[in-house]
C-alpha cells in the first residue's frame, strides 16, 4: 500500500498553528505518510513542529466558505490573537492527540482542508503494523545491529543464582504453541517437566500457566502469575496444575492466591468457562479476592478525567465533582493497595503468592510490577526499572497494540482499549512523590513512557506479544526504546539526582490524602504548571551542582 494514495494535498502554505504553551504561528504545513510537519519561518526564527500521525486520537473539522460574503466579513476575519484570516474559504482542523495535546490548524482553502483532514484520518489509524513508523525510523546515531532490548529471561535466570536450586528455565514455549502470549522462555519449578506444563496450559485461560515473576532474596518466597483456571461450571480440575502449585510452596505451609476479581465476578466466570481455585483442590492456598477495575471501565474513567481537565469553566465545584465521578484516583488507590497487599504477603508474612485475574495480562501485571518496586531495590534504578518493564509488560505479553490503540479523545468505537499501562505509570509517580529519594529515575521518564506507549518512533511497544514481534521482525527492523533512553545524553535527563540506594522496602501510603492527581501528565499542557517545572529544574540543577562539589572535594578532606 502506498502512502501517497492517501495524500491528495501534501503541502499547504499560510497555515496558522495554535498549540498550547506557544504563541500561534503562521507557516507551511506538510503531510507525509507518518508525520505532520509545520515550519514557521516568521521573525527570523525557524520553528518546526513535527507530529507523529499515530499520536492523533481524533480530529474535528469545520469549514467556512466566505467567498460569497467576503465584503461583509473582511474585518471580522481578524481573530483574537491578531493573526488575520484571509477572506475566502478556509477550514479549521482541531487535532486531539493521544498525549492530550490539542492543536488547531487554520488552513486556507476548503478543499485543501478537507484533503488534509481525510489524509490524517486514514494515516493515523493504519491497520497493518508493518506500515507503522518504527519500521521507517532511522536515527543517525544508531545502527539496526545494535543490541535490542535490555535483558532476556535466559539472562535473568542465569544471573539469579538463588533460583538454580529449585527452579528451572523451560523452553516449552519456544515456538509459541503452548502459550501465544508468553515469551519463549519461562521460569517454572524444577519438578515440573514440559509435558506437565503443556497440560497446565490447557487448563488456564489463553494458555497462561503459572510462571515465576519475582524471587524475594530475603526469604526465598516467590510471586507467580497466571490467568484464571478454566474450571467451568462442571468444576473441572487439573492434577498437573495442582502439582505445579504444590511444588511452588514446597517447604512452606501455605501460599496466597490474589485474585483481582471480586468473589461474585470469579464465581460468575464459571458460567463462561473460567473459574477460581477451589478450596478442596488447592487446600494449602488461601485465596484473597481484591476487585480491580480493568477494560472498558478503566478507559471510561480516563475519558471522564481528561474531560474534567479540559473543562474551561474554572468552577471549583464542577472540577471536584467531575474528578470524583471519573474515579481515576480510586483506581490508583486500589492498584497501590493491592500491590501493597501482595508485597506484604511476601515480605512481611513470608509466603509465596500466585496472582491472577481473568486473562492475566492487565491487573496481574500491574500489581506484580508495583510489588517488585516496593520490595526490590534493584528495580528502582533507571536500568532496573526499564528492565522490569521489559520483563513484566513487554515480554510478558501485555497487549499494547490493543490497549493503546486509542486514548481519551477518540471518537472511535472502543474495542480493547484500556489505559492499564498509564495507570501503572501513575502509581509509580505516586511512589516517587512519597519516596523522592528512593527511585533512580525522574518524572520525565514516566511522561516519556506514557507518550511512547501510544505513539512511538521505536518498536518496543509494537504488537501484543513476543510472537507478533518475532513474526514482524521487530528486532531486526526497528530500534529499541529502552536502549535509546539509556544513551548518555538522554539518561541524564531521566535519572533522579536525589537517588540514594537503600535495601529497605518502600511501603506507600494509600490514604486518599496521600494520593494526588498526576498533574505532570493530565495537566501537562496548561500554562501555569510551568512555574512548578521551573522550580523543579532549579532543584535538579542545585542538587547536581552541590553533589559534584561535595564529591570533588571529598578526597581532599580525607
Amino acid at each position: 500500500m502506498e502512502f501517497s494514495e492517501h495524500i491528495k494535498t501534501a503541502n499547504v502554505e499560510d497555515v496558522v498553528l495554535r498549540q498550547p504553551l506557544h504563541p500561534p504561528g503562521r507557516g507551511t504545513l506538510c503531510i507525509t505518510g507518518h508525520h505532520l510537519l509545520f515550519s514557521d519561518r516568521e521573525e527570523g526564527s525557524w520553528r518546526q513542529v513535527l507530529l507523529l500521525l499515530r499520536n492523533i486520537d481524533a480530529i474535528e473539522k469545520s469549514v467556512e466558505n466566505l467567498l460569497t460574503c467576503s465584503g461583509l466579513f473582511s474585518n471580522a476575519g481578524l481573530s483574537q490573537s491578531g493573526v488575520s484570516r484571509l477572506p475566502g474559504s478556509s477550514g479549521t482542523i482541531t487535532i486531539k492527540c493521544k498525549d492530550l495535546r490539542v492543536l488547531q490548524l487554520d488552513i486556507p482553502g476548503m478543499e485543501e482542508c478537507l484533503n488534509i483532514a481525510r489524509s490524517i484520518e486514514t494515516l493515523s489509524c493504519l491497520d497493518s503494523m508493518s506500515e507503522l513508523y518504527p519500521f521507517f525510523y532511522r536515527p543517525s546515531n544508531a545502527s539496526l545491529r545494535d543490541q535490542w532490548g535490555l535483558s532476556s529471561l535466559e539472562r535473568h535466570y542465569s544471573q539469579m543464582k538463588e533460583l538454580h536450586d529449585r527452579w528451572r528455565l523451560s523452553t516449552v514455549n519456544r515456538d509459541f504453541s503452548v502459550c501465544p502470549s508468553y515469551p519463549q522462555a519461562v521460569i517454572v519449578p524444577k519438578s515440573t517437566d514440559d509435558d506437565m506444563l503443556e497440560k497446565v496450559a490447557k487448563f488456564r485461560q489463553g494458555g497462561r500457566f503459572p510462571v515465576l515473576c519475582y524471587y524475594h532474596k530475603k526469604n526465598g518466597m516467590v510471586i507467580m502469575r497466571s490467568s484464571q483456571p478454566l474450571t467451568g461450571a462442571n468444576r473441572k480440575r487439573c492434577r498437573e496444575d495442582e502439582q505445579l502449585l504444590q511444588a511452588v510452596i514446597d517447604g512452606s505451609d501455605k501460599g496466597y492466591i490474589i485474585d483481582t476479581r471480586s468473589s461474585q465476578q470469579a464465581l460468575q466466570a464459571r458460567m463462561t468457562g473460567g473459574g477460581l481455585e477451589s478450596k478442596s483442590c488447592y487446600s494449602s492456598w488461601k485465596r484473597l479476592q481484591r476487585q480491580m477495575e480493568r477494560g472498558k471501565a478503566l478507559q471510561e474513567s480516563l475519558i471522564k478525567l481528561v474531560e474534567a481537565c479540559g473543562d474551561e469553566s474554572n468552577n471549583m465545584d464542577r472540577w471536584l465533582s467531575k474528578l470524583e465521578n471519573s474515579k481515576w484516583l480510586s483506581h490508583v488507590q486500589t492498584a497501590l493497595s493491592t500491590a501493597g497487599l501482595l508485597a506484604e504477603c511476601v515480605e512481611r508474612d513470608g509466603h509465596s503468592v500466585l496472582v491472577h485475574g481473568s486473562e492475566g495480562t492487565d491487573s496481574t501485571l500491574l500489581i506484580s510490577t508495583l510489588a517488585q518496586l516496593i520490595m526490590d531495590p534493584s528495580c528502582r534504578t533507571l536500568e532496573g526499572f526499564l528492565t522490569l518493564l521489559e520483563r513484566e509488560w513487554v515480554q510478558a505479553g501485555h497487549p499494547f497494540q490493543q490497549r493503546c490503540a486509542h486514548s481519551a479523545h477518540s471518537h472511535a468505537r472502543l474495542q480493547q482499549e484500556s489505559p492499564v499501562f498509564l495507570l501503572l505509570l501513575d502509581c509509580v509517580w505516586q511512589l516517587w512523590r512519597q519516596f523522592p529519594l528512593a527511585l533512580g529515575f525522574s518524572e520525565a521518564l514516566l511522561l516519556r513512557l506514557a507518550t511512547e506507549a501510544y505513539a512511538s518512533d521505536y518498536g518496543t511497544f509494537l504488537g501484543n506479544n513476543q510472537q507478533e514481534r518475532c513474526a514482524l521482525g521487530v528486532k531486526e527492523n526497528t530500534y529499541c526504546l529502552f536502549q535509546a533512553l539509556l544513551r548518555p545524553r538522554e539518561r541524564d535527563c531521566y535519572s533522579n539526582p536525589l537517588y540514594e540506594h537503600t535495601e529497605l522496602a518502600i511501603w506507600p501510603s494509600v490514604h486518599p490524602q496521600s494520593l494526588q492527581l498526576w498533574r505532570g501528565f493530565f495537566l501537562r499542557w496548561t500554562p501555569q504548571t510551568h512555574h512548578l517545572e521551573e522550580a523543579q529544574e532549579e532543584i535538579r540543577n542545585m542538587v547536581i551542582e552541590w553533589g559534584k562539589l561535595a564529591l570533588s572535594s571529598c578526597p581532599a578532606s580525607t
Partner: protein, 191 residues
C-alpha cells in the same frame, strides 16, 4: 540561629522577585492542593517518608563545608608556595554515597522508610491492626478528592493493605525500628 534555618526557604531567590514583582497565582480549580502537612500534621503514616527539602538543605550544608575545606586547603598550598592545580575531574574515583556519608554527620531522620515511629506508636498500631483495613476504606470513601479537599480527620494507623490472618506478629513490628537504626547508624525516630 538554628531555629531561623528551619523557617527559611532554600529556593528563595531575590532575583526572582525582581523579575516577577507581582505574583500571579493561578485560580484554576485543579491547581489548588490540599494542605496535608497542616491538616494531618500528626498523622505520620500519611506523610511522604522522604523529604526533598531536608535532603537539599543537607546538601547545601555539605556543599558549604566542602567549599570552605577546599578554600582552606588552597590557602595552605599557597602558604607552602605551591600553586594549586585546578582540575575539573576528581583525582580519585568518586566514592559511593554510602562511603561519602560516613565522613559526614549522621544522616537525618528524613530517610527512614516505612518504619513505625516509636514503640508507643507501634503498640497503639497493633491495637488498631485488627480494625478496619484499607481495603474497606477504598469502598467506604466513595469521594476521593472531595474527602481530600474537605477532609475529616482520620487517625494515624499502621499502613496495612488487607487482612492477613494476624500472622503479622508483634515481634515483627518491633523489629522494624531496630533494623532501621542499625542501617542508618544514629537515626532519630521522629519524622
Amino acid at each position: 540561629m538554628s531555629e531561623r534555618e528551619n523557617y527559611l526557604n532554600p529556593f528563595y531567590s531575590p532575583a526572582y522577585s525582581k523579575a516577577h514583582p507581582v505574583l500571579q497565582p493561578s485560580t484554576l480549580p485543579y491547581h489548588f492542593k490540599f494542605w496535608r502537612n497542616m491538616y494531618h500534621q500528626f498523622d505520620r503514616s500519611m506523610h511522604p517518608r522522604q523529604s526533598i527539602l531536608k535532603t537539599v538543605l543537607n546538601l547545601r550544608e555539605e556543599g558549604r563545608k566542602a567549599e570552605s575545606a577546599l578554600q582552606a586547603l588552597e590557602n595552605r598550598l599557597l602558604q607552602l608556595g605551591v600553586t594549586p592545580v585546578v582540575t575539573s575531574d576528581p583525582p580519585a574515583p568518586p566514592p559511593t554515597r554510602d562511603q561519602h556519608c560516613n565522613t559526614l554527620p549522621a544522616r537525618p531522620d528524613s530517610l527512614i522508610l516505612g518504619a513505625p515511629i516509636n514503640h508507643k506508636e507501634v503498640e497503639r498500631q497493633e491495637e488498631e491492626f485488627d480494625q478496619e483495613e484499607v481495603g474497606e476504606e477504598a469502598t467506604e470513601s466513595t469521594d476521593t478528592e472531595r474527602s481530600v479537599e474537605g477532609s475529616s480527620g482520620t487517625d494515624s494507623r499502621k499502613q496495612s493493605y488487607g487482612e492477613l490472618d494476624g500472622t503479622y506478629s508483634s515481634e515483627l513490628a518491633k523489629e522494624e525500628p531496630a533494623a532501621v537504626s542499625l542501617e542508618f547508624g544514629v537515626a532519630r525516630m521522629t519524622c
